[in-house]
């Protein structure tokens, strides 16, 4: 029986990849375990193996093809004695899950123009030429630039050096800066976070990568008790200039222990600054600012955004100030406040709402502590309505804080109850359908906005 070889998914978030090279050609006999092709994802080049013995009858996707979707048939293998002509034309393979990707990648048309607006809104880049960069590259460039600038800056974490980063954020740093400054650690977050804080007490400037923030729960004692509180407890004598960074929140289909959003946990702690950028420009400019900052910084990234490209200003030293929100879209009818990947929902919802005659103002908080409430309040005083959007759990979330502050500080301006859109109040499920139900989506945002605008649901 003829079997199809399908484009494999090589990571939880992979949607497509490049068929970099065929290592076998049509007519070759192949055995299970033979390496038959190389696939490039945005993170790595992976080899794929034959699963069964047979003859490679036909190559369906030529080498060099880019953007090959997961589950696309890429070749046909025949058993002994079979001929290609004996079989019917290959049916497209049925995907094991529904055809729409569970966690859809962000489409550039939505984000790119919005990012431009963000940059204009913050008025710090002027008429600078723009270049297209992924968030992943932006973060790497930020670290590399700061490491060139300051000998005391070093990067440590699991797989940051030789492996080039579990999510390839530290790609190339080892080659440029060497093993003294790009340090692979054992899988011991509590210990290496403490070592990094000790090094910061001594005046070095560590950038600690957590493979994900879920694992930083083991290190949270040193982040809070040792890093955040020491300046206060020492009466201002001893501080730690340190950045803790890594992907936060839900990636895709990795279950409850790998999908938590910690934004409000850290935003609650005096002595920390908490940053959660969305665009590549903000990721770069805020990470550079964070590394220079004399305080402990929690830098929350998002795995689903790493591979997205944004236009960023082509300048030598891009710094985005910590503590300033950005109005990425001006509007009159409602204020949409979000951060990190929630911005994608807010932006997409704003486009849909505009088609329905609702003019949303979209604010990217960018920093969660200190919160730029002035930007939020000014907007609410104009629109009289607010909806917060985030991927974190609803109780005591960033949205809860913002809704509370808006209620207290702009009560007389409100024409509707401040409203939150959050993840459901459940541990993140694994099943594709349940995960989709747990996470907030664009429809949730659109209906929340309609509700505060007292408009009928579509």
């Amino acid at each position: 029986m003829a079997t199809e070889i399908l484009m494999p998914a090589l990571s939880p978030t992979m949607e497509e990849g490049k068929l970099a090279r065929w290592l076998v050609k049509e007519g070759d006999e192949i055995a299970a375990g033979d390496i038959i092709a190389e696939i490039e994802t945005d993170k790595a080049t992976m080899e794929i193996e034959a699963i069964e013995d047979g003859k490679l009858a036909k190559v369906l996707i030529a080498e060099g093809a880019e953007g090959v979707k997961v589950n696309t048939p890429i070749a046909i293998v025949l058993e002994d004695g079979e001929e290609l002509d004996d079989t019917a034309a290959p049916e497209p393979a049925a995907a094991p899950t529904e055809p729409e990707p569970v966690a859809a990648p962000i489409e550039a048309p939505v984000s790119a123009p919005v990012v431009k607006a963000a940059i204009e809104g913050s008025k710090i880049f002027g008429d600078t030429a723009m270049v297209e960069v992924t968030v992943r590259e932006a973060l790497r460039d930020a670290m590399a630039e700061e490491m060139r600038r300051d000998e005391g800056v070093f990067v440590m974490g699991e797989e940051v050096a030789e492996y080039q980063g579990a999510y390839k954020v530290t790609q190339g740093l080892l080659a440029e800066f060497g093993e003294k400054r790009v340090i692979d650690t054992p899988i011991t977050e509590h210990g290496f976070a403490g070592i990094a804080v000790g090094a910061a007490f001594a005046g070095l400037k560590p950038v600690v990568e957590f493979m994900t923030w879920n694992f930083a729960m083991q290190a949270i004692d040193h982040i809070i008790n040792s890093a955040a509180k020491t300046l206060y407890m020492s009466g201002g004598q001893m501080s730690s200039s340190i950045v803790f960074r890594g992907p936060n929140g839900a990636a895709s289909r990795v279950g409850a222990q790998h999908s938590q959003d910690y934004s409000s946990w850290y935003a609650q702690v005096p002595g920390l600054k908490v940053v959660a950028p969305y665009s590549a420009a903000d990721a770069k400019g805020l990470l550079k600012a964070a590394i220079r900052d004399p305080n402990p910084i929690i830098f929350l990234e998002h795995e689903m955004v790493y591979g997205q490209s944004f236009e960023i200003p082509d300048v030598d030293d891009l710094i985005v100030p910590i503590g300033k929100a950005a109005i990425v879209r001006q509007g009159r009818d409602v204020t949409l406040v979000s951060f990190s990947r929630g911005m994608q929902l807010a932006n997409e919802a704003a486009i849909i709402l505009a088609e329905q005659g609702i003019d949303a103002e979209v604010i990217d908080l960018r920093t969660l502590r200190p919160l730029d409430m002035e930007t939020v309040l000014t907007s609410v005083r104009k629109t009289n309505r607010i909806v917060t959007v985030e991927e974190a759990w609803p109780i005591a979330s960033i949205g809860s804080e913002i809704c509370s502050r808006v209620t207290c500080e702009a009560f007389d301006y409100l024409d509707a109850p401040p409203t939150k859109v959050n993840c459901k109040d459940v541990p993140m499920p694994y099943a594709a359908n349940l995960e989709k139900l747990a996470l907030p989506n664009v429809d949730d945002v659109v209906s929340a906005v309609k509700s505060v605008c007292y408009r009928d649901k579509a």
Partner: protein, 321 residues
Amino acid sequence: MIEFTPERELEAYREMLKIRRFEEKAGQLYGMGFIGGFCHLYIGQEAVVVGMQMSIDKGDQVITTYRDHGHMLACGMDPKGVMAELTGRRGGYSKGKGGSMHMFSLEKNFYGGHGIVGASAPLGSGLAFANKYRGNDRVCLTYFGDGAANQGQVYESFNMAKLWDLPVIYVIENNKYGMGTSIERSSATTDFSNRGASFDIKGEQVDGMDVRAVKEAGDKAVKRAREGGGPYILEMLTYRYRGHSMSDPAKYRTREEVQKVRQDSDPIEQVKKRIIADGIASADELKAIDKEMKAIAANAAEFAQADPEPDAAELYTDILR
């Protein structure tokens, strides 16, 4: 066993007595309500910090957990500033905002004073990491107790310290009890000097009641670390006479047990006996030193009671830099 010069013996006597008189005074102030919260006294363990301090040079770092008053005085921090921190006054090392367990002096290379059991192990390893990163020859004395020695982060630190050859000396002050639980009841193995074995970190048990034994072991370990030999463990066999904190009635051990240690191996009495026997100083001369140390403690106490509390505006300072 190394022999101390007469000057060393007198220095040891003075320094240990300074800590003891200070701690006795702190205990008094606690009883009078001037010191709040927790207060962990170092009485009985004085030989450990005094001997180790004699082994290091200016520029080497010291870090410990919450039983920290002795370490601070041994580092040369001003007793007035330490006592005023205990009473929560503005002249305290942390302006009254840290308290007994959280004090620091960058000037004296004392990096705290950490309230979380076990936290000093990675933090001290991190200070040592910075020494190695900068290519200087400083070493970090990283103190923690027998209770902390069972913490996971201690072993995470051991692993990285050995992996990266960090110039750190782990000084485990084994005073036999983690709060009210004896080492036999809390620890599967009670020879803490061996706890680095899985990481190939060598260690030794030291008579932590004999300041000469402490200095001898400290000298060797410091030299080794300074010359790039990496981490080392010194388990100091010591004893605290008082409870875990001021609120601990210490019912988990007998009065006789404490009395026996005081009688047979008190660190200060040991030095005193040698000084008299060797004719280094007379009993009267030692009494004069004691009087001087009592005066230092009394002055510190007086300052710590008279010094005003921090200004209300201090509530919001030193949160961020």
